[in-house]
């Protein structure tokens, strides 16, 4: 019962926090001048009428010949917010693209969903590769503490953690893709995301993403495991006759996983958000690229949706970590007094 109440409380607080952030974002965005770019084949008047139909502007003023719209009044922001929320909750409508020619007039939600697979796939691959290797290296380093194996792993971990992802992404691009030609330089076009060639073309980005997480997990695991290995119940386990392997697997590993497992869970949530830098560098048509394009083109509906998405992912990852402690380790009773 403690758990249930605690989870409910945390979720409620999270939603409140999310709502506050998004309302502030909405107000700040709606305070900006409205951008209408009549690009090729797109009539400005139609764009104005669309904005009017969505309830963002009102009182369109035409010029003398009734050809062009020259002015308009803005709808009060609170009213816009009401309309916006009503459409989201009643119709699932997050708005339409306005300034980017390729997404002009299309529902932003559909575009967003179509951009999600590459981002998620790359991050899932990276997690699948990164977590076992990271944990393995960390365990190895902890078991062989202060030997050359440990020193090599620790040095590698420090280097990988410190060197920014820009640098090793460039290195991977140059060495693996260009010099050795193991992978293509750009990601394959098209939407056949599960094919072998697509998988191969995603590899460079995946590798540059997972190097960092390998290092992170290795360091974390090593630190946790060395601490558990020196604790007294390990001595007891050995005294009562367990072999070193049994003691390590049954007692040390399980205990050291308590703080590590939540972070793996949160990484699985965070796979959704991806990395802007990696997507930009390997020209991956993912959510990050969409976000960059949207903010450069000042497409506000896209901005609202994607900001909300990133914000929610961040908040959810944080909560998952906290709550999962309670589920993993029965000794921890969240929210108990």
């Amino acid at each position: 019962m403690y758990m249930f109440k605690y989870v409910l409380k945390r979720l409620g607080l999270m939603l409140l926090c999310f709502a506050v952030i998004m309302v502030i974002c909405f107000v700040l965005i709606k305070m900006l001048p409205i951008v209408v770019t009549g690009s090729f084949g797109v009539d400005k008047n139609i764009q104005y009428r669309k904005l009017e139909a969505r309830g963002y502007i009102t009182n369109l003023q035409w010029d003398e010949n009734k050809i062009n719209i020259v002015g308009f009044d803005k709808v009060p922001i609170l009213k816009q917010l009401g309309l916006y929320l009503k459409r989201i909750f009643l119709e699932g409508d997050f708005g339409i693209g306005t300034t980017m020619p390729q997404y002009e007039g299309q529902p932003v939600w559909d575009t967003f969903v179509s951009r999600l697979p590459p981002t998620v796939l790359i991050n899932i691959y990276s997690t699948i590769i990164g977590v076992p290797i990271g944990l393995g290296l960390g365990i190895l380093a902890a078991l062989k503490k202060n030997t050359w194996i440990d020193h090599v792993i620790s040095t590698g971990v420090i280097v990988l953690i410190s060197v920014p992802s820009i640098v090793y992404a460039l290195l991977i691009l140059y060495v693996l893709c260009f010099k050795l030609q193991l992978f293509p330089l750009r990601m394959d076009a098209g939407t056949d995301y599960l094919s072998w060639s697509m998988f191969k073309s995603m590899m460079p980005a995946t590798l540059s993403l997972c190097l960092g997480s390998i290092a992170g997990y290795a360091r974390f695991t090593r630190a946790e495991l060395t601490e558990v290995l020196t604790s007294e119940f390990m001595l007891l386990a050995r005294t009562k006759g367990l072999t070193r392997g049994q003691a390590t697997v049954r007692h040390a590993l399980r205990n050291s996983m308590v703080p590590i497992f939540p972070s793996i869970l949160s990484e699985f949530i965070a796979v959704l958000s991806g990395s802007l830098i990696i997507e930009q560098m390997f020209s991956i048509p993912g959510v990050g690229r969409l976000y960059l394009d949207a903010i450069n083109a000042q497409d506000y509906d896209f901005f609202m949706l994607l900001s909300g998405f990133y914000c929610l992912v961040g908040l959810a990852a944080g909560i998952i970590v906290d709550i999962s402690y309670g589920f993993i380790d029965p000794r921890i009773r969240m929210g108990a007094r």
Binding site: I29, L170, Y174, Q280, M281, I295, Q298, C311, G314
Partner: protein, 525 residues
Amino acid sequence: MENIKEIPQEKFAFVGDKNLSHDVKLDTKPRSYLRDAFSRFCKNKGSVVAAIVIIVLVLFAIITPWCTPYDVSTEDINFAFALPKLHMFENTNFWDGCREKTDGFNNFIYYYAMSTELNNAKEGNGGHNAIKNEQYEVTDDGLYVYRLDSYHSNGTQYKKMSVENYELIQQYQNETGNQVIYPTIRTSDRPKATQDNGNANYYFKTRMVNNKTEVVLDDDGNVIPVYWQDVKENIDDGYHSLRIEGQDGIERDGQVYYNVYARYVSGGDVEVRVNYYEYYIFQHTYVLKDGITEPYFILGATNSGRDILTNLSSGARFSFLFAIAIATVNMLIGAIWGAISGYYGGLIDLTMERITDILSAVPMMIVITLLKYHMEETSQILILFLAFIATGWIGMSSTVRMQFYRFKNQEYVLAARTLGANDFRVMFKHIFPNSLGTLVTSCALVIPSMIFSETSLTYLGIISLTSGDITSVGTLIAAGQPFLTTYPHIVAFPSVFLALLMLSFNLFGNGLRDAFNPTLRGSEG
């Protein structure tokens, strides 16, 4: 014992110098907290090395922009992608501004003829070898292998200029003896192919095959120069300076011909053929007088022909200054916020904590974007600054808050309050110094992440710092990335710098954290 009420004074006697046992003062020197931390820091070899590397990098960032003759925005598209060159290594095949090329005959003879013309122009004025040392090898497949000098491969160019400028170059030539202007070529003798028509390096006979320019060779396999030559009476180019050959004319068919050095074009300007390398030197030493003596880029040049060394060091200087400024401001705000929140506790603490909760949940990108939209007119640096401050102080404030919770009910604080110290004094005189160590350490740990964020934002192009004489390491990387496969040196140097910086800052920060943590004392053995 008998209770004596009043002891007569004479009963008392001075003890004098007899050995009284006071506490013996310690002979050892007292060690202050800082000295202790320092000695522990020095034991950590990695951190010391990292500190030295940081000092070197900082010195590089401070000093280098003053040492290079170039400005950040000095650019020359003709030297775009110039390769790194150091005079020390001129005679080796490393760091000499050259790249090895394997080419077919047509490309090779283009550069070879360029070398021949500019190098043999005049005694003592050579060294314009497009092909390094004019050395080449022919492979079995008939391909030519040679080292192409990226500084001299511009060769010559047609330049339209006013007559005054033309005179100025001649004056420069006469004064220094460096030949800038080379004999020009009749428009009818220039290559027919449109893409090569304006290329001044075709001073020899060519023909067009399949819309491509091909060289016509004489029987000995040499190119045939087609300089514009005429008898003295017909020449009206106003040229009175160095000539490549035949100062007194070239005798042919009983007549003396001279090379023509300029061609009048519409608007009263003249078109001359200049050796671009020498022209660059002329421009910078004679006209602009900006301290640049020759095109010489130690770390090469970018895709727009900017000096990488200058750009990198200026970008680094900006990053350092920026990071330090932000860390200071964040520390100030965080200290004040955390102090109030931690000291007063209760409802004030709760409210302030909720505010920081909400603020810290806002992704950095959203903050940047909103600031960018709302402050389009102001400088990008200010936007970046505000964005980093908007959420950056939260970490610092929670550190300070924790320290305040720990210390605010300690006896010495209660004593201070009993003695009448007001809240402000208790907060900043008695409690705050306790959190200074952790605060400084977290500053050292925050600076690299700040530099990294700044680099990635400029790399993504969300913030562009290219205006004026400000640049950033991220901008350099973003500019060089499209040319990664052909000219890797543009991204290589900024990347190495960035990697080194982050690595050493992390090692340094970790060492500092351990050094300021007294609980670790003696545990390193």
